[in-house]
Symmetry: C2
Subunit: 313 residues, 2 copies
Amino acid sequence: MATTSNPVKIGLVGLGKIAVDQHIPAIRNNPALELVAGCSPQTRPDGLPGYDDMQAMLAAHPEIAALAICTPPQVRHRLAMEALAAGRHVFLEKPPAATLGEAESLRARAAEKGVTLLASWHSRFAPAVSAARAWVAARKISNISVMWKENVRQWHPGQKWIFAPGGMGVFDPGINGLSILTRIVPDAVIVKKADLHFPANCDAPIEVQMDLQTESGVPVRAEFNFLQENQQTWSIVVEAEDGGKLALHLGGTELEIDGRQVLKEPEHEYPGLYAHFHQLIASGQSDADFAPLRIVADAFMVGKRIAAPDYIE
Amino acid sequence: MATTSNPVKIGLVGLGKIAVDQHIPAIRNNPALELVAGCSPQTRPDGLPGYDDMQAMLAAHPEIAALAICTPPQVRHRLAMEALAAGRHVFLEKPPAATLGEAESLRARAAEKGVTLLASWHSRFAPAVSAARAWVAARKISNISVMWKENVRQWHPGQKWIFAPGGMGVFDPGINGLSILTRIVPDAVIVKKADLHFPANCDAPIEVQMDLQTESGVPVRAEFNFLQENQQTWSIVVEAEDGGKLALHLGGTELEIDGRQVLKEPEHEYPGLYAHFHQLIASGQSDADFAPLRIVADAFMVGKRIAAPDYIE
């Protein structure tokens, strides 16, 4: 499974903020990968051949072996199905699709075509996640909280799709917390109750409170807020029956155990994700876990709808 | 797999309208089954030992081998988990749980305990469904519509849970149409767009329009309405590329092919369901297909919310 002498050639689909900020540098800094081209109906990539759409890019660069799909979720399924049908490995930005039905059909198609599908959850590659998983595995857990509170105006400027149907609203960042939660607890997590605050002019919630439970009965409280000013919070706190306490802060870049900081590292998620993608391709495997998306769908289905003030960017 | 000389002893959990109207007569008319007792915090069954709760019923009747869970969906999961933990086979009314997370945990638990789980979809046992499935399998399909329009005041009097969070609103009958749809088409069905009409005083929609698509690309239109007066509609129409047309009416009790009625039979769903349950127990299998619930969850997740007038029963 070592790096082969021929790097895997990659094409980028969608050239928005996440592609430019994260995917392009992560691919360029991985010697096992080679960034060949990018496509977008709106923009052209810097220093790279650019195309209007994926089919034009693949026609010009048949050597592309893998496609990273970074478009908004609403159009990801069609593009990913075309990519898989063309026999390409696929890296899906999060969330992996707009619906569970789409996600499951991608998993089935990738298996049928014998190519790699990575449903990526970048937050699972935050530096403190594996240590947190090990800590949880060694203890009887009594309580968990997931607090994801950020300022949408700061982090998602101009991203109107986020409040459109299928855009998920505050679940878009909140699902990052859920992706860490479902990685560090060993059993499934089930939604019991959700309060969804919908601005009258939006089709997705701006604030969410949820009561969840692990299959073994541990209560989990989740609170997501998109209107958080000043201190931004991306934290998970786990309490154990022996009185121990673990806290992940700043999306998993800081780890505290029993009140003492034991890890603080710069964010390095996308390099980890791309190393994982390369390893999956090299070993002929897929990684397509949809548990975080299932939690979101369940919350929408059982949630109480609460009216919130209009959201004006 | 024939009927054994010892009938399977069954306990009923929940004694509401569906239990009295459908489950009790279906069990009593099946010689392979024996109705032993029922439980409900509110009512007592006619001519049958009654208990306040499932644990009291099982303590008094350890011979009960299978439990039929007919409570509202919001409490079904806890009861079903207890029933499976007690090593009993479980028949779940539809929908199988309030969330996909709950449903999947029930499937996993039943497999672990080696007992039968039936996630029942009674409409799949309507008389015209198997003929419709065969007709669809023999043709290239071009278009499908699912119209489920009924008067909530007539069919769900006093059932306040239906508009509570997790009660699903008009999806409660609509999921019957989806359960037939997902039985008669061979591939998965994916939600593309949904309009959800929420009365301001309800936590579940009263009217829904959806655009769906089968994995092979056939468009499916679904329209559910809970305020239908006069003519009630529970119909699925399938058009084939060869010009052929199939219509299921009245929930699958009538079948029309190319405009000619070819089948009209009285509804006989629960006897069929209980025969299926008995066969699953006898052969040590489960039947737990959650595709209709997945479609509903996906519709909630990507749906556009449209304000509807208050609903006053």
